[in-house]
């Protein structure tokens, strides 16, 4: 089953992506919880704005980090995990 890159991710209601200076990294905050994002998840998360579709996010990171192998697949995988965990909605 192929991933539909024309879908647009939005954070689920009540989920907030933000930078935490004390942790020197980005986190995802939600009711009574927090997930510390690794560097690549933070880069992808920073582009989830309800406007960009997955293809646009891939294009933007590809331009920023040219030549990274399987970049598109990694981003698709992040989207799949984030949707399965109900962090994002894909519409």
């Amino acid at each position: 089953m192929s991933f539909d890159r024309s879908k647009t991710p939005t954070w689920r209601t009540g989920y907030r992506y933000q930078y935490e200076p004390a942790q020197k990294g980005h986190v995802l905050l939600y009711p009574e919880g927090m997930i510390k994002l690794n560097e690549s998840a933070a880069l992808i998360g920073g582009l989830i704005d309800g406007e960009r579709d997955v293809a646009a996010i891939i294009a933007e990171l590809d331009a920023k980090f040219p030549g990274v192998p399987e970049l598109g697949e990694d981003i698709e995988q992040f989207m799949e995990v984030a949707r399965a965990q109900h962090w994002i909605e894909l519409a």
Partner: protein, 391 residues
């Protein structure tokens, strides 16, 4: 003052640093007030809450939030008592949100109105948690000590979702309501809860006083967990976003819980009068805890005696000291060790290695034969609190 245990021979020399690096206080719980319109007999507030000092002012709370946020606190819970009785709640929410906190309102829903839900949203409130006492009106109202509580909670839960908040519903379960867990879960799904906390009573404060009348039997607990797992599987198969969180009572475990993820590790509670605690149950312990009126949050978290009292491992006596699981559970809960053994440094008696484990076995045995009705429980109210404080 208790012995620190530091003069014991160091049997684990070289394996662990005696004072590991102190983590960030990521979680700040602001117990704004002990005032509450309900009288739940399992309340975690101290028994003598009616005798505690004056509440912090708006400015004092804002100072606490600012300092904690600078130190890395990210989650802020407004709790109590019932936080809605504070007239400055919207102002506190707005300040906290401006500082960058994820703001959680932990409420019984009593005193909540559509107007407040809307005002709090404008102030930047991120999430509302409503606690229920039971899935049916009669038991709920009996436990809450209020005739109108249930209908109000249902109405407010619907309003919370209608205003676009994520919602956690919290049910404290015990022997009088745990057999209805399927109805509790059905109700939560119908109300579109994002998370459901099915929290079996933990025995602190008023719950400890009423333990015999609250602790479910092993059979009740096993059934409730099985039913919960069945619902979990069903929700997952449907791709349903509702998450069920089942908290077992540690009285049925053989190893203690890693309480608060370790003493002074990520949690910081500030009580209505400004006393800072490493967990909301710690007030009863014979340890000097600092007050935010006298000290900065920096001092309180990193330097105060109270917050350092059980950090690391070098305070531990046996059997914890030489136990290879101490990094996993930190010897369990200090409050429970104090309550049940008289010495807060002891192993939590939930642990089968504890010489006091018999207390837990006896409580399990009592649960098999307990006959106490809901009406016979000691309800959390000012009158009972003053009587207990005097005796």
């Amino acid at each position: 003052m208790l012995s620190t245990g530091s003069n014991l021979p160091d049997t684990v020399s070289g394996t662990l640093p005696p004072k590991p690096e102190i983590g960030l206080p990521l979680w700040l719980l602001a117990e704004l007030t002990y005032r509450c319109p309900l009288q739940c007999p399992y309340c975690s507030n101290p028994l003598d809450f009616a005798e505690q000092g004056k509440e912090l002012s708006t400015e004092q709370w804002i100072k606490v939030f600012r300092e904690a946020r600078e130190m890395g606190a990210a989650q802020l819970g407004f709790s109590g008592g019932e936080p809605l009785v504070r007239q400055d709640l919207a102002e506190l929410i707005a300040e906290a949100r401006k500082l960058g906190f994820y703001t959680n309102l932990i409420t019984s829903g009593i005193g909540l109105t559509e107007q407040k839900i809307s005002d709090f949203k404008k102030a930047g409130l991120d999430h509302i948690q409503i606690s229920f006492q039971a899935s049916d009106e009669q038991v709920n109202n009996l436990l809450a000590g209020s005739k109108k509580a249930f209908a109000q909670k249902l109405e407010m839960a619907r309003a919370v979702k209608a205003h676009g908040y994520p919602m956690v519903l919290n049910f404290v379960t015990h022997r009088h309501n745990i057999d209805k867990i399927d109805r509790i879960i059905e109700l939560c799904i119908a109300l579109e809860a994002d998370f459901v906390e099915l929290a079996t009573c933990q025995f602190y404060g008023w719950a400890q006083l009423n333990r015999v009348g609250l602790l479910p039997t092993k059979e009740q607990l096993v059934r409730a967990e099985r039913v919960t797992n069945e619902y979990r599987a069903r929700l997952e198969a449907e791709g349903h976003p509702c998450k069920l969180i089942f908290v077992t009572p540690d009285y049925y475990e053989e190893r203690p819980k890693a309480c608060m993820n370790g003493w002074g590790s990520i949690f910081l509670t500030v009580t209505p009068d400004g006393t800072a605690l490493p967990c909301h149950g710690a007030r009863q312990m014979p340890v000097q805890f600092p007050n935010v009126r006298d000290h900065s949050m920096q001092h309180i978290w990193y330097d105060s005696f109270g917050f350092n009292r059980f950090r690391g491992y070098d305070w531990m006596p046996e059997p914890c000291r030489s136990c290879d699981e101490k990094e996993k559970d930190f010897g369990g809960c200090r409050c429970q060790a104090f309550m049940l053994t008289g010495d807060a440094s002891n192993a939590d008696p939930v642990c089968s290695k504890s010489q006091h484990h018999g207390v837990i076995l006896k409580a399990r045995e009592e649960a098999e034969h307990a006959t106490q009705t809901i009406e016979q429980l000691a309800f959390r109210n000012e009158r009972n609190s003053r009587l207990i404080a005097k005796s």
